[in-house]
């Protein structure tokens, strides 16, 4: 039996702004149904890589291929993936129910009672069934993120992108969100790509990861994060996973 095709293939990607290169020669694959983490320190290009993966920005060179979409910047119509932005990015003038029904009513013919039922089912799935008529400004940061996940799930995408899901959350909300991500992946078979630097989250949810470094401008390690923590001999990777100091020099040349 041939090996299953990876869900995302990235080949020799170079991203940056103008003459400033953030990442180059970046190649990796994300297997279907797994939770894949993109790790690295602040400013290493994690979020920029995510913006390229979801097609908001075109890479300077290289190829991104999402199975069923091809180049994500070229799809027309309903995207076959969902995105949870760092702030949740809910539309502030709409209630949670309206936020969730927006992709549904735009890209499908589902209307009325069925649409309401689907919206409520997704809100129940993320534990926000009682807040359908609330505006985003009336709920907490963790709830906004869960509502963002529910919205990302409305079109039954089998691929979800998360940009720093636990940033700004208390430890309990962060763990709840991680559990939700695990549920989505294990029970719904969704492929999840998470950009984060929260170690507890990484060890709890991620099956596989890549570690980016801004000095190397690319991937410095890849594999199971728990193995990398215990076995990696690369100083930056070891320091990252064990929260230890990795040289205090602020001199970029040294």
């Amino acid at each position: 039996m041939p090996a299953p095709k990876p869900h995302i293939t990235v080949e020799d990607l170079r991203i940056g702004w103008g003459t400033r290169v953030l990442l180059e020669h970046t190649t990796f694959q994300v297997e279907r149904g797994t939770i894949f983490a993109i790790l690295g320190g602040s400013g290493c290009g994690k979020s920029s890589l995510l913006r390229h993966l979801i097609g908001l920005v075109q890479p300077q060179a290289g190829r991104i291929d999402i199975d069923g979409v091809g180049d994500p910047s070229r799809y027309e119509g309903a995207p076959p993936f969902g995105v949870l932005f760092q702030s949740g990015a809910l539309f502030s003038s709409m209630t949670l129910a309206e936020n969730l029904s927006l992709p549904l009513t735009t890209w499908t013919r589902i209307r009325g009672a069925t649409a309401r039922e689907l919206v409520h089912a997704k809100l129940d799935l993320v534990g926000l069934g009682a807040f359908a008529e609330h505006l985003p400004g009336e709920i907490s940061g963790g709830m906004k993120k869960r509502a963002g996940i529910a919205r990302a799930l409305m079109l039954e995408a089998d691929l979800l992108f998360f940009d720093e899901p636990s940033a700004g959350l208390d430890p309990i909300s962060a763990v709840e969100l991680d559990q939700l991500i695990l549920t989505l992946s294990r029970d719904l078979g969704i492929t999840v790509v998470i950009v984060t630097h929260e170690l507890p989250s990484i060890f709890l949810v991620a099956d596989n990861c890549i570690v980016l470094d801004k000095v190397a401008k690319g991937i410095v390690a890849r594999g199971d994060p728990r193995k990398l923590r215990d076995e990696s001999e690369i100083p930056f990777v070891h320091a990252f996973f064990t929260r230890s100091s990795y040289g205090v020099s602020t001199n970029p040349g040294g």
Binding site: R51, I54, G55, L56, Y75, E76, G77, A78, P79, F81, G82, V83, F85, Q86, S87, A89, L90, F91, S92, L102, P103, T105, T106, W107, G148, R151, L155, V248, S249, T250, N251, P252, G253, G254
Partner: protein, 374 residues
């Protein structure tokens, strides 16, 4: 408390003795002392720093001393601290010396008038390119929106018409009424000198219907709704809502810009039309109060003065003025990147550009009508 940095020289060797409080409170005095000491140390081969007489040192004092030692070493002088006397101060200074980042020289910002003008001019092609790119995207969006009406947020249209049109009615009406009064008074004072008061209604009709009505209304709308639309979209941009729209397959131009431009194109002509009527009322009030002309005579003269040409030359500009306001406000909003400050800056730019462009467009139309003899 006095601060001093004594430099005791013995041939090529010197000993620096900081005395007093080297801290934030005394930073100015410390800086002067450091400068004096540095001047007196020129030509030394080795410098020892004796911290025994320091009363107090904090980060500021440590930085000033650390940088002095760095400069001395850069000049080829051996600089060292006698640690035994005050180990804590020595550690603090050493810390600031170790943590010094050697960054490549940054480009100095052009501060002179000419370089700044040059920098502004050099940005013009990029800005013009952005503007044409945006107009092009909007032009493409119209047929696509016609093909897939669900890609436009039509549900927001009633709200937009309410906010841009109905809510603006009091202020545009008041502005037009007052402009009518002003034209009336101006006509009375100037035409009255030639005994031509009977032509004041004609002046109000021609000046307001053809030029000032659309212009005044558009300027008020540009200031009011232009700022509102630009800041709304800019806030959506910085809070990732625009990215979220794009990630869900929506085109922000179709979803956000088209309904806003459409709402403006509907409401600005209506506001102008109401404003025209109120300007006539203003002219009437001014003339009746200031002269012997009766209201009946004024209305009669006004009715004779109003022609389809005067009315239409004014109203035909309105959708163009409205589109300019909408495209500039939405375009500036979508170009926003950064935080709250960027929202404010883009809003300001949007209002200034929108007001300026309404004046330019009005002038172009007037020139065109003058050349065509309309």
């Amino acid at each position: 408390m006095s601060v001093a940095l004594r430099a005791d020289r013995e041939g090529d060797h010197a000993t620096l003795v900081p005395i007093g409080s080297f801290d934030l409170t005394h930073a100015t005095a410390v800086t002067q002392e450091v400068k004096k000491a540095e001047a007196s140390l020129s030509g030394s081969c080795s410098v020892d720093v004796d911290l025994g007489q320091l009363d107090r040192i904090d980060g500021t004092g440590a930085v000033l001393l650390a940088r002095l030692l760095d400069r001395l070493e850069a000049d080829g002088c051996r600089a060292s601290i006698v640690e035994g006397n005050n180990p804590e101060a020595a550690r603090l200074i050493a810390l600031y010396r170790e943590r010094r980042a050697v960054l490549p020289a940054t480009e100095t910002r052009a501060t002179g008038a000419l370089p700044r003008i040059g920098a502004l001019v050099s940005q013009l092609p990029r800005k013009a390119n952005n503007a044409f790119d945006f107009i092009g995207r909007c032009a493409i969006a119209v047929p696509r929106a016609a093909a897939t009406p669900s890609s436009v947020d039509w549900r927001s249209l009633p709200r937009l018409v309410q906010e841009i049109g109905a809510d603006a009615l009091p202020v545009t009406s008041a502005a037009n009424l007052l402009v009518g009064v002003i034209i009336g008074l101006l006509g009375i004072s100037q035409l009255g000198r030639f005994g031509a008061i009977t032509y004041v209604p004609d002046l109000v009709v021609v000046a307001h219907f053809r030029e000032l009505g659309p212009l005044v209304t558009a300027i008020v709308v540009a200031g009011r709704s232009g700022a509102g639309l630009a800041s709304e979209i800019a806030t959506m941009k910085v809070s990732e809502e625009i990215d979220a729209l794009r990630s869900m397959g929506f085109d922000p131009v179709r979803w956000l810009v088209l309904p806003r431009c459409f709402a403006l194109a509907i409401t600005v002509p209506l506001l102008t039309w109401v404003g025209d009527v109120l300007a006539l009322v203003g002219g009437l009030a001014a003339t009746v109060v200031m002269t012997d002309m009766t209201p009946h005579a004024y209305i009669q003269a006004t009715a004779n003065a109003i022609t389809a040409s005067h009315l239409l030359t004014g109203l035909i500009k309105c959708p163009f003025l409205a589109l300019a306001i909408g495209l500039i406000a939405c375009g500036q909003g979508l170009l926003t990147s950064g935080g709250a400050a960027a929202v404010g800056a883009r809003t300001t730019t949007a209002v200034v550009l929108a007001i300026f462009s309404t004046i330019v467009i009005s002038a172009v139309f007037t020139l065109f009508f003058a050349l065509m003899g309309i």
